[in-house]
Subunit: 130 residues, 2 copies
DNA sequence: GTAACCAGTATAACAGAGTATACCAACATG
DNA sequence: CATGTTGGTATACTCTGTTATACTGGTTAC
């Protein structure tokens, strides 16, 4: 058992090509940053060209002004988006993506893909149940 | 303004190549299924070959037995994983991925990629601040 | 025989994510 | 002049995900 343990440890630390420890941490980091119900939909909306507060709000089913306001503030602080106020009359507030914002693109794309396939699967399951 | 509205509506419904409405919904569906702190790390762990309860637990920093127990039960019910009990003495409980489980692979991969790059960025930012 | 490992369950409590509803000032629209 | 839009804030509440701590019954190693 002593030997087994030592063997396992060596295996773990040295020869594993996809270092699991590093990957779990990376995964958990990502979840920490984009966790919650709203951040990714908001990023998606803004990257899709929505700029105004109400516009973004309308583009995300179920979100409340309060949550949108909170998340936007937080994401601006974290440099994920930029908030611009014009000095026209009336003032116009616009949100725009930063470069950092686009780094989430691939994740969002994969999640959209999964979501679409998920719907397909459910449709098929329902129709085959008849 | 009447015309503007009608134009916008038509544009929205017809000619948009990446139908935003469908995509937001797909995105929100996905978040609904894999939302929370633990589901993806657990899926990742099991897909990486971890089978035993304590093994999975040890592979995910910060998780408690309670959360792992709950999530495993839920994910078994949703057919994301399979739970097998042998009738040996002592009994051995093993968790294994279903095919469905692997459909999250691309999402997890992208999130691991993002997490790693995120660490790199932070490292660079810190070193450039000196 | 005692310490440790396995696969969890029990209980209690908390923090904060999320909801609901109302409200505001400034401006535009008809 | 009434109604609607914009960009939010205020208040209060719920809910549940998450944590913390302890415990169980069986097995195995030293």
């Amino acid at each position: 058992m002593e030997n087994k343990k030592r063997l396992k440890l060596a295996k773990e630390v040295l020869s594993d090509p996809r270092n699991p420890k590093e990957e779990v941490q990376a995964l958990q980091d990502t979840i920490y940053v984009i966790g919650g119900k709203w951040k990714l939909p908001i990023i998606n909306s803004i990257c899709n060209g929505n700029k105004r507060f109400r516009e973004i709000e309308r583009s995300i089913p179920g979100i409340t002004t309060r949550m949108l306001s909170r998340e936007l503030r937080e994401m601006e602080a974290n440099l994920i988006i930029k908030r611009t106020v014009t000095d026209t009359i009336p003032v116009v507030v616009e949100y725009s993506p930063t470069e950092y914002c686009y780094t989430f693109g691939d994740i969002i794309l994969e999640m959209i893909k999964w979501g679409k396939e998920h719907r397909e699967r459910i449709k098929k399951d329902l129709s085959s149940e008849l």
